[in-house]
Amino acid sequence: MSTSFRTLKDLPKEELLAPGHRLCAGCTVGTTIRQILKAAGKNTVVVSSTGCVEVATTYFPQSAWRVPWTHVAFENAASVASGIQHGMAALYRKKKTDEKLNIIALGGDGGTFDIGIQALSGALERGEDFVYVCYDNEAYMNTGVQRSSATPYAAATTTSPPGKLSKGQNRDKKDMMAIAVAHGIPYAATACPSYPYDLMNKTRRALDVEGPAFLHVLTPCPTGWRFDISGGIEMGKLAVLTGLWPLYEVVDGKTKLTVQVPRREPIKKYLQAQGRFRHLKPEDIAKIQEKADAVAVKFGLGPLRQ
């Protein structure tokens, strides 16, 4: 099923993530999952790691999932997904089932970059036929905004607070895409729910490819990044338009930009819109602008808007 989502009428109306889940008001992960499931369809198993999504969508006895779903632990979404894939494949081959399902492992940045990296690496290396979606809100949000290796430079979290001796997070965001691509997988892509067609087409491509695919989705979090609950989608757009979050895909090792940014927004606009960067001084902002400039060069993005 290689559908290309181009216009509104291409989008399935069915909601496979039901309303009534307990995600925060304005949570862009809710938007992301709705879009992903529209691209994936009903014949999909979702494997969640422990985190915002799992906790907010399956509080017994209510579940927001209208597709089969499972959760086992924090760090093993990728290995549980491997097991499901092999279980279904073996049963299909032995003619004990006729079901063929999409398998999507869904983990937050904590459950993917940190505690889940071993299981993810194993599943990617083994070439399991599944899609791993990392919804990246740049910290351990479910437990109250603690720093993860996805937390960007200088961001404030409860375990990397700014203070007399600290500027907040003192490391750069881990390049998870590079790590995934280094496994030689056929497809990897960055995405953002603010660009729905881009995200849904990438989901489709990821599912269609034979073997593992990795989708890294930036999901702005009003609660943890500290901005107004109405601002999530625009924050995602700003992340892309500043060049900080380039939207690209890597197909069999070849990188291709999918959303060009002809005139980049200055990083100041993005940083000053978020409470987690409130403590930044002009020299810190300048440093981060440099990082964004470097990304722009790497991906061939446009110059800064003056």
Binding site: T58, R66, E75, S79, G83, I84, G87, L91, K96
Partner: protein, 388 residues
């Protein structure tokens, strides 16, 4: 049915092959490794049609098994010691999520210090996980029990751990009578094949169980393992009818008139029985009680078997540092504490980290049990074979 020379590990591998497993998660750890190696040969040669997942750790091995089991596939993995410890959290999940599967645990000591030899610490650390735990004492038993375990697991929807002592059983070759594969396929019916992750039902499995529900959900698994006693007996009796080898939850050796006995589990049983025979010739009414089904613990059967005994020495091959007693002793004491007439219990720890338990050690233990019983006062736990 001819007999072949097989190690305990290979006997298990053959059982897994004949059981027509669908998914095997494999990660190496001494002394279990030859099980998964043998299985990989079977798969590579087309003798076993299964998906063989070379996972990157034991935690992932168990996670993959849980996932595969949810789809209705028949799954198997094997581990020991550190590997079992590494999958600790997932073991609890497997039992609570009611995912049928069989795992061979080749008993090995837990670090530190690093030790690849036999003791029971690994399985004992998981005794609260909610798994059915069966302990074998021979390669034949390892083969037979693994076959029974698949049937048991699928009937009770509880995961089953088959324990066998590292090196002593895993690597030692013994004669094993293999059952013809067609007969095994008839004995273990096709797995129930319910895909709990089917879009037809769209279940959510593994959810948040808040305080108002967790207690009841946990109790379901407790109830399930309690009720598994009947299926265990039935399946064991069935096996005997079909293949002529009988097994029991608790074995009594020389217990018809024994006054002093040792309680054992695993391979040490054989040695204990040999020494008991010798002591009988010397006039001591010695017996050996041994446990095959550790979880669910066969409370009634144990009470039956120790009826009339004056002294029971409990052999732990693991310890509970700082505890009032060691793992097996705790269970035995709990079984017997409510009885008006019960044997005097003497606690022993021996054989840790693969330390051989010699016939002399057994004599020491029988003697100490007799002394404790005669004095009607047990001594504090004796660490037999420990150098000061």
């Amino acid at each position: 049915m001819k007999k072949v020379g097989l190690s305990g590990n290979y006997a298990i591998a053959y059982a897994v092959k004949m059981a027509d497993v669908d998914v095997i998660a494999a990660y190496p750890i001494t002394p279990q490794t030859t099980i998964v190696e043998k299985l990989s040969e079977f798969v590579a040669n087309g003798e076993l049609d299964a998906d063989y997942i070379n996972v990157e750790s034991e935690h992932s091995a168990m996670s993959a098994c849980v996932g595969a089991s949810m789809t209705g596939a028949r799954v198997f993995t094997a581990t020991s010691s550190q590997g079992l410890a590494f999958m600790h959290e997932v073991l609890f999940m497997a039992a609570a999520l009611r995912t049928p599967m069989v795992m061979a645990n080749v008993n090995r000591a837990l670090s530190a210090p690093l030790n690849i030899w036999n003791d029971h610490a690994d399985a004992m650390a998981e005794r609260d996980a909610g798994w059915i735990q069966l302990w074998v004492s021979s390669a034949q038993e390892a083969y037979d029990t693994t076959l029974m375990a698949f049937k048991l697991s699928e009937e009770t929807r509880l995961p089953v751990m088959v324990n066998l002592d590292g090196y002593v059983l895993s690597h030692t070759y013994e004669p094993v009578e293999l059952i013809a594969e067609e007969a095994v396929r008839k004995y273990i019916p096709s797995r129930p094949l319910v895909n709990r992750l089917s879009p037809k039902t769209a279940f959510s499995v593994g959810v948040v169980g808040p305080p108002e529900y967790y207690f009841e959900m946990k109790y379901q698994a407790i109830d399930a393992i309690e009720r598994s006693r009947m299926p265990i007996s039935k399946i064991t009796a069935d096996f005997n009818r079909s293949f002529g080898r009988s097994y029991d939850d608790v074995y009594a050796y020389g217990m018809e008139d024994a006054e002093y006995a040792l309680l054992t589990m695993g391979s040490m049983t054989g040695s204990a029985r040999v020494v008991a025979e010798e002591l009988r010739k010397e006039g001591l009414k010695a017996g050996v009680v041994s446990i095959r089904t550790f979880r669910p613990f066969p409370v009634e059967r144990l009470i039956e078997k120790v009826d009339g005994l004056m002294g029971l020495g409990v052999m732990d091959r693991a310890s509970t540092p700082g505890g009032p007693s060691n793992p097996l002793f705790s269970d035995i004491a709990a079984c017997l504490c409510g009885l008006k007439d019960r044997p005097i219990l003497q606690s022993f720890v021996s054989g840790l980290g693969g330390r051989d338990i010699s016939p002399d050690n057994f004599r020491t233990m029988f003697k100490a049990t007799k002394e404790a019983a005669d004095a009607k006062a047990p001594k504090p736990c004796m660490y037999v074979g420990l150098r000061e």
